[in-house]
């Protein structure tokens, strides 16, 4: 459906901007929850016109919302029940700005429909064609943030420092990304481990887990605002909030780092047979 607020219709449309109905309201509230797999939309849609409610109960009209993401050419019309409803969508179909527009539409032609809230100029009853917009609500907008979808490892970068002995790592927080510093030959080895089967699992446990512990320890004991202009900070804090980790009072960096990296040893356990084959 293409719709603009100044679009004219041959039939009445219940909306914030028009006066085709008097005293009737179509309201919707939305909540959005995003994780790495899914986009969960919680809707609370209500309409107070008894005749429209009858049409919904008789399945002559649908009630729900349009979900539209211009960046990925995606649109979905999702029919939901009146009141609270929860719907899940695959997150990999979304990117950037997303709009939700609540709507009610006809599923068949409705002839001589009487409605007590219709503007008097309609004479008390109207005929609604098939596939017509009967009510439209305010757009709710949100963003599927690319940073939010990035794995935590993406906020780290490797940097060479040949003054550090081979095999040792250090963590620096004063850059846009959390910098893991090591001797150039160690960095080279990390790169090689990254690209062999299961190499990332080994790195996650041996390099990234202690690095995340170090970050948690340093920001929980220091000034959190010190780093809030850094790119890594937003992703790191968002991920902590998502997992209910209180950064300011992190009493166990080991526990919380494992949580943030989704129990990295579990990955090694899952590949046990490959390692011991």
């Amino acid at each position: 459906m293409r719709y603009t607020n100044n679009m004219l219709f041959a039939h009445p449309v219940l909306s914030e901007v028009g006066d085709d109905f008097s005293g009737a309201e179509f309201n919707a509230e939305f909540g959005v929850d995003i994780d790495e797999q899914k986009l969960r939309i919680t809707s609370e849609i209500s309409v107070n016109c008894p005749e429209i409610l009858d049409l919904i109960n008789e399945s002559k009209v649908g009630i729900g919302y349009y979900l539209m993401c211009k960046d990925t050419f995606l649109t979905r019309l999702r029919e939901v029940k009146i009141g609270e409803a929860v719907e899940d969508f695959t997150i990999s179909n979304f990117y950037g700005g997303v709009e939700i527009r609540p709507v009610i539409w006809t599923k068949a032609e409705i002839v001589d429909w009487p409605c007590s809230t219709l503007h008097p100029e309609y004479g008390g009853a109207v005929t609604l064609p098939l596939a017509a917009l009967l009510a439209v609500g305010e757009i709710y907008r949100f963003t599927v943030d690319r940073e939010f979808l990035k794995p935590l490892e993406s906020v780290f970068e490797l940097a060479s420092d040949d003054e550090i002995q081979q095999g040792e790592f250090r963590v620096q927080l004063d850059y846009e990304k959390i910098r893991i510093e090591a001797h150039s030959s160690t960095i080279q080895n990390v790169g090689e481990y990254r690209n062999v089967p299961n190499g990332r699992l080994i790195l996650l446990n041996s390099v990234y887990l202690p690095a995340v512990m170090e970050v948690l320890s340093r920001i929980s004991t220091g000034d959190l605002q010190e780093y809030d202009s850094k790119s890594w900070h937003r992703v790191f804090v968002a991920r902590c909030q998502q997992l209910n980790i209180t950064i300011e009072n992190c009493d166990s960096p080991f526990r919380d780092a494992q949580k943030l990296l989704k129990l990295p040893f579990k990955g090694l356990e899952a590949k046990r047979e490959e390692f011991f084959a």
């Binding site: 293409r2 649908g62 539209m68 990925t72 050419f73 990117y95 596939a131 990304k177 690209n195």
Partner: protein
Amino acid sequence: MNDLLHVSEAVLSGLKQNISENLPKYQSEGFREESANIDWCIRVKDVAIDLGALSTLDGSSNSASADIDNTLIVMEAMNGLNPTLAREERIWVRLSHLECFNYTCERWFSSGDFNEKSIKLHFFASSREVAQRRHSISRLWWAGHIAKQCMPDSPEIAVRLLFRRADVFQSFMEKPYFVPRLKLAQSVLRIMNEDTRALESEQSYRDFMTVINRKGGGVFFEAMSESQVDDFAFQALEESAHLVPSR
């Protein structure tokens, strides 16, 4: 199949800032010496691509027919990519600077004019518009993605229709509210596949779209059956066909 790799943020930013300094590379051998650099080789988890297939891309022609063949190759070779990842510039930058460097140069720089503006458009994918319409490989992937959405059972036919006329490609790729009206977009392609009157000239396609837009605004095509939407689109085609003689 091969791992899908991307460049790091630092490499992306360095390439963007140093287009002029890198001009000799764009004009000659490209960036192949970077292929083993770890900052050019960050693996995307759980996504594989067929680099062998991508190496068969043919940039020697800028014809619609070549774009069709190349889109079909990219669709197959990068079938595992999802739309969220497809908006990740670093993936496309790695491909256009390494594996698909020759194709990019042949297709978009055959005149040898490697100016900074064109390099930004065809080697980088910094915005939605550039990624979906300009980047040498990304535009083909997005065309394939739209074709799969519109004709999931026969995307090849959809690709052929999309590239049949520049106007068709433009209306599907450039108007973000057209493809999202998926049932209508699907029907428009089905009708054009059966009745080619709208594809006869630039004007005939424009007339068809004018009638579709005039009559279809505010219509809930999702509430209609496939045959009802096809009837709507066919009537619009009939009406638009009658507009031509009167002009």
